[in-house]
Symmetry: C2
Subunit: 401 residues, 2 copies
């Protein structure tokens, strides 16, 4: 075997192969050209040369975390609306006071590019400080060609700057903008005929998402968006069954979606469709909690049918002002009753699958060396502690960030 | 007026007087000898000398935060039990596997003093990094004279080291230790006749707490503990009505307790008793969430009767592994539906009252200069964002930490 560029030695490893901790105690990970070239017990260490060796006794090594569902690019925040809502204001009151998603759309449309970059950078830096090596970022607060492109360009720029893998998702079908009120089909025309081709031409998106809900877009409108994505060879995913059973999970499965996200109201046939299609269910406890929802996602059915389950922050200013993947993990345990092992799988191997990334999410030979090092006694602690950060180092493609 | 040692200038101030934001825009705070000597609009700044002036345009100043209910001193953690419970293990299974509160008691009894210091320091440093100037710490994992004293001594030591005000609470009546199984009255004798006098003699406690619940101590046993505290001139507080309506709030009020904590099951007469006694209700959303509770505290009745409401982390390894006051604030909003203004009052003026501290918790002349500076657009954001930290500076008694 050629020399290792780097050997992380004397560390307990949770490989997360098959979605389990799959622990190798007192192990090492050898890295060549940014990839994992060897992993095993230190007692089996091969005799080849090592350019750099770092000993990590008493620490744990896991795959770098992956936040597979965020709306990280936005301007301003909706804390005033949050206070009004908790003070008893109705949605009508809030809309009259200029709140709701359109207030974020207006703020994002009006923001200069460098303002968007600066505000988004703070959030991305928090995720990086917690061990995220890959972060998905959606558009969806522009709702016109220029600002949707700007949001995705900001995300690409911050990916380069931060050293993280930022995976872009085009979410033009997030809401019907005010100027298309009562003309949602016309807006879907704009999404399919102008926005998506422009974004594809500039290579600004890695996937296409839509929000399927009576307050957003109908299944037929989502089909048009997904058909258009297929013509551009873009994989799809769906905000599905969050507030009602809209058949969203089945719709996502019908298009072999990478993921169906939220899925609180998904019914048994929907779960079976996800299983058959290999679509990941992405659970978003921050939105559940912030909205005061009561309908829990069908975790038993998802487990029984072998649907891979991911967990993400859903970081957004309206329904999930959660900038912390560790908080999302802890809430997935306390609110959705996922085990810590399921939570860690949900932000590593299953999150990678939700993004269509076969090259990361586990510690295996041939995978990219995206690694997080922790000062903990066991990876269980990563969903147990709420509000602390035990990360000691993060590597992306073998480079320490 | 004599010269200000320090003037924090050009900052928006939420004074939290009367439990409201009580904002003074474009304000200044003048400090002399660690106390607030002046607060007002910059346009009204008096003409006296200023030794040091710091301009904070675009930032906010609030009272330093106060975490008024923690069990911060403990050894080890219970993440394995957390995983077992989420995996479906019963309490009996967990007890058989060595879990439950007695596992923390055993670990704490066995821990060396410097281990306890090191593990507790990490948690205290997180709270400090979030803007806490005062942290209450309870004993209760020793359950014998030596280790209860050691825990409180560790807390005192870390208070000096950290620069924070650490307020100690003796909680010998936390659980009946194994060696007193079926002899809980004998254990209460030990608490009253040996532990409390020893702790008072060494000035290790600022107050006395007890856990009133069928699984812990009866109201009559709590009365004995509180009567004993009265003879030693120690104020009392109570873990009350967390898991059942044990009449705990009324019992706390009967003894003019500083606070009644948890209070999920407190009934209307209990709320009225708290109001009449001026006892603070301390809400602990971390424990509610971790235990998967469903009975919400009687927030409407607390508001209607004018009971001051505080919010705290309850940081402990069994039921609230929450090391973050900001997380407790955000959860108090999302889980208990407190407004952000109520949350901020709950960790400033009302938390000070829950600790019997008249010298802090608001920005007023004569109060101690315990101040937090934030890079935010409005203090609403302090309960809105979950998992981020916008603190830029913390002052305790006028000294920057």
């Amino acid at each position: 075997m050629p020399a290792f560029d780097l050997l992380l030695a004397d560390v307990d490893v949770a490989t997360m192969v098959d979605g389990r901790y799959s622990v190798i105690a007192d192990a090492g990970v050898g890295i060549i050209d940014g990839q994992i070239a060897w992993v095993g017990a230190m007692s089996d260490l091969p005799a080849n040369d090592v350019a750099s060796r770092i000993s990590l006794p008493g620490q744990w090594l896991t795959p770098a975390l992956i936040d597979c569902h965020t709306h990280l690019v936005f301007a301003g925040n909706r804390s005033a609306e949050f206070e009004q809502r908790l003070g008893g204001a109705s949605y009508e009151d809030i809309a009259r006071a200029g709140g709701g998603i359109m207030s974020t759309v207006n703020a994002t449309r009006e923001a200069r590019r460098d303002t968007l970059i600066e505000q988004t950078r703070r959030r991305l830096v928090i995720l990086r400080s917690e061990g995220c090596g890959t972060v998905e970022i959606k558009s969806g607060y522009g709702l016109n060609v220029d600002v949707e492109c700007r949001m995705l360009d900001v995300a690409r720029t911050l990916g380069v700057e931060s050293g993280l893998s930022v995976i872009n998702t085009f979410l033009g079908a997030h809401a019907v903008p005010t100027e298309f009120r009562n003309r949602s089909d016309d807006y879907v025309d704009l999404v399919c005929n102008e926005m998506m081709p422009a974004i594809a031409a500039q290579n600004l998106a890695d996937a296409v998402d839509a929000y399927c809900e009576p307050i957003a877009f109908s299944p037929d409108q989502v089909r048009r968006v997904f058909d258009c994505a297929a013509t551009l060879n873009l994989p799809v995913k769906l905000h599905a069954d969050q507030l009602s059973d809209s058949g969203g999970a089945a719709l996502a499965a019908e298009f072999n979606a990478l993921s169906a996200d939220h899925v609180e109201y998904t019914n048994q046939p929907g779960v079976e469709a996800l299983a058959a299609a290999g679509t990941v269910a992405v659970l978003l406890p921050g939105a559940f909690l912030t909205l005061g929802e009561t309908q829990l996602p069908p975790l038993g059915a998802l487990r029984a049918n072998g649907v891979p389950v991911a967990v993400a922050t859903d970081c957004n200013p309206g329904t999930s002002p959660v900038c912390s993947i560790r908080t999302a993990m802890a809430l997935a345990s306390s609110v959705f009753r996922l085990t810590p092992e399921e939570c860690l799988a949900g932000v590593t191997c299953n999150a990678a699958r939700a993004l269509g990334l076969a090259d990361r999410g586990t510690i295996e030979v041939g995978k990219r060396a995206d690694l997080a090092i922790w000062e903990i006694g066991h990876p269980q602690e990563l969903s147990y502690w709420l509000g602390s950060n035990e990360l000691t180092a993060l590597y992306v493609a073998g480079q320490r960030l």
